[in-house]
């Protein structure tokens, strides 16, 4: 064995440190395309757009579906469509480039290698995102892969799909609120104050929970956890230490500022309705 010079090697291009981040819009887009797929198709595929962040993370921000047809041993992709759509998208946002492609279904299937090869020609080292819209394992699995070439000496043997870490924290979705995105029907958007109320309630529940935990620890019902203790003390310490008089002054000043604003805006509104009435009166005379 030692005399043989051919070595089985995985030529990986920095795939070790590669990771991907998905914008919630992409998931929404894929699901929508899947729901609207043609009758005979079992899966939808499409192009992923985005950019590569300075730290090497692939930021997937947008996507579009590409029509394709698949039979047992071949895949036909509508390349014209792909290019047209790409040109259209780049007109709007030239900073978003192709970063890979997506497909619905669990894991990588046979036809995927061919499609991946096509995308490798569009961009070096494309990311392959799979979204399990069938919930075949009972949960919606979303995974990202990069392809690694497996070669024996100079000979290409195969391409291996290697899973890369995927960041599914959806700050953008949190901004909109999961309450709206999670349910199938929301009758009314929350107003400023309703949103505030919900946030307050959640904060209150959290404070209560911390109280309960601390009480339990003090009374010896729960084993103390140093980490949690440190977090709690950090949180309490993050409140600025101010003498009560200074704090009262700060709060009261702010309150008065805001009251003044309210007063001004009320006056303005009164003025407006008064002007409206006077205007009509002037016309009647």
């Amino acid at each position: 064995m030692a005399s043989e010079h051919t070595v089985l090697q995985f030529s990986s291009s920095s795939s070790a440190s590669l990771s991907a981040k998905v914008h919630p819009l992409v998931i929404f887009n894929i699901c929508d395309c899947y729901v609207r797929r043609p009758d005979q198709a079992d899966r939808v595929i499409g192009t992923l757009l985005g950019s590569i962040l300075p730290d090497g993370t692939v930021d997937i921000r947008n996507s579009y579906a590409v029509p394709h047809s698949e039979s047992s041993d071949q895949v036909a992709l509508d390349i014209d469509y792909h290019h047209n759509m790409l040109i259209s998208h780049q007109k709007v946002n030239p900073k978003e480039v192709i970063v890979g492609w997506y497909s619905t279904g669990l894991g990588v299937t046979g036809g995927s290698a061919l499609i991946h090869e096509f995308y490798s020609r569009e961009v070096s080292n494309p990311v392959h995102l799979t979204v399990d819209t069938g919930f075949s394992t009972g949960e919606g699995t979303i995974k990202a892969y990069v392809s690694v070439n497996l070669s024996l000496g100079d000979r290409q043997l195969a391409a291996q799909f290697q899973e890369i870490p995927l960041d599914l924290r959806m700050v953008e979705a949190e901004r909109v609120g999961f309450d709206i995105l999670k349910t199938t029907m929301v009758d009314k958007l929350p107003t400023d104050l309703e949103g505030m109320e919900a946030s307050m309630e959640r904060l209150l529940a959290l404070v209560d929970e911390v109280y309960k935990y601390v009480d339990n620890v003090v009374e010896g019902r729960v084993a103390p956890d140093n980490n949690i203790g440190r977090f709690i003390s950090d949180t309490v310490a993050s409140l600025p230490k101010l003498p009560p008089t200074a704090f009262d002054k700060l709060v009261n000043d702010s309150l008065q500022d805001h009251l003044l604003m309210l007063y001004l805006s009320s006056i303005t509104r009164t003025q407006l309705s008064l002007a409206e009435k006077l205007n009509t009166a002037a016309q009647v005379l």
């Binding site: 104050l193 946030s199 959290l206 409206e276």
Partner: protein, 336 residues
């Protein structure tokens, strides 16, 4: 038989009873798309097209696509139209609803009530019987509010605008005041079951979300300041407009006085003529410049400015209300 051969289209056109638009139903996908587009280009203002279906009194918005930033160039404008057609064609190929139902645009602090918006509305309305404009405010969203609004022009306003008739008399006849220009339509959000399942799966375990952080941020002063700045600007505009009206009324009363004087003179003259047995002169003289009507300035501008002002007032009230909550919360925390 000729009657029987009416096309389906004609039947549809004649027998349809236009039910008023009650609700705009938006897909979560559209909301995310709009937010992404508007936020990425903020503070530049961007627009895009809404696609969907018109079902009875509900307007469903199921997809949308952004427009490239518009430039004042003929050639590029033609290209923009091409882009729109191309995009619609492409989306139709993947079975997206291929029916324009309106457009969306971003705004800065809710300063969207402009003549341009009304003109765009009129343009759209010519082609689509029912359309809405969805307005998204990225600056307000940083406060943890989903600042999404669906607007349409009221029918009575549209009629007036078509005839370009904004004199005081007409407005009084129609009983139209500044609040009646825009109608806000309630928004419903719908998601497909699939998306709902995924989002439930992906929702983080942590009970605190980004939205809560944004809401509980104490520094709202910059936002408030800019609001007040805009308000002051509007006030200046309004007072300019008022001066225009004062000028008009002064001119009008002066003219009326002149007319009266002329009429009295003419009557006295006629009396004298009648006494002398001559035919009286006519009591009107169209050639006289004092009978030429003074053009009344359009009230549209002042209406729009008034709308704008009330909008700023509402925003200030909203922000102040939130701030009160926050301040009292801080106070409570500190006392404990």
């Amino acid at each position: 038989m000729a009657n029987m051969a009416r096309s389906f289209l004609q039947v549809a056109a004649t027998e349809e009873v236009a039910s008023p638009l009650r609700v705009v139903q938006i897909e979560g996908l559209v909301i995310l798309k709009i937010i992404k587009h508007c936020k990425e280009f903020s503070p530049a203002l961007v627009t895009g097209q809404l696609l969907g279906l018109d079902v009875g009194s509900v307007l469903e918005v199921t997809n949308c696509f952004p427009f490239p930033i518009r430039e004042e160039d003929e050639e590029i404008e033609a290209e923009g139209a091409n882009y729109q057609l191309e995009m619609m064609r492409c989306l139709r190929e993947v079975n997206v609803d291929n029916n324009t139902v309106g457009w969306y645009q971003s705004t800065l602090l809710g300063s969207y009530q402009t003549v341009e918006l009304i003109e765009t509305f009129m343009n759209y309305q010519e082609n689509i019987r029912r359309c809405v404009c969805i307005i998204y405010d990225p600056s307000k969203s940083n406060q943890g509010v989903l600042a999404l609004k669906a607007l349409k022009l009221s029918d009575s306003f549209m009629e007036l605008y078509r005839n370009n008739n904004f004199t005081g008399e007409k407005l009084r006849e129609k009983n139209l005041s500044w609040v009646d220009i825009f109608e806000e339509i309630p928004i419903k959000v719908s998601n497909s079951a699939l998306i709902s399942a995924f989002m439930t799966e992906l929702e983080a375990d942590s009970p605190v979300t980004q939205c809560d952080y944004d809401r509980l941020k104490l520094s709202t002063n910059p936002f408030l300041e800019r609001n007040v700045e805009f308000l002051i600007e509007c006030m200046d505009d309004l007072s300019m407009d008022q001066q225009k009206f004062q000028y008009y009324y002064r001119n009008l009363s002066r003219q009326q006085a002149q007319q009266q004087a002329w009429l009295q003179k003419r009557r006295a003259e006629n009396m004298a003529r009648r006494a002398a047995g001559e035919d009286p002169l006519p009591e009107e003289d169209p050639s006289n410049p004092i009978f030429k009507p003074v053009p009344e300035p359009s009230r549209l501008d002042s209406f729009l400015i008034t709308n704008q002002i009330s909008n700023y007032c509402n925003q200030i009230n909203g922000v102040a209300g939130q701030s009160f909550c926050r301040l009292y919360l801080m106070k409570g925390l500190h006392e404990n």
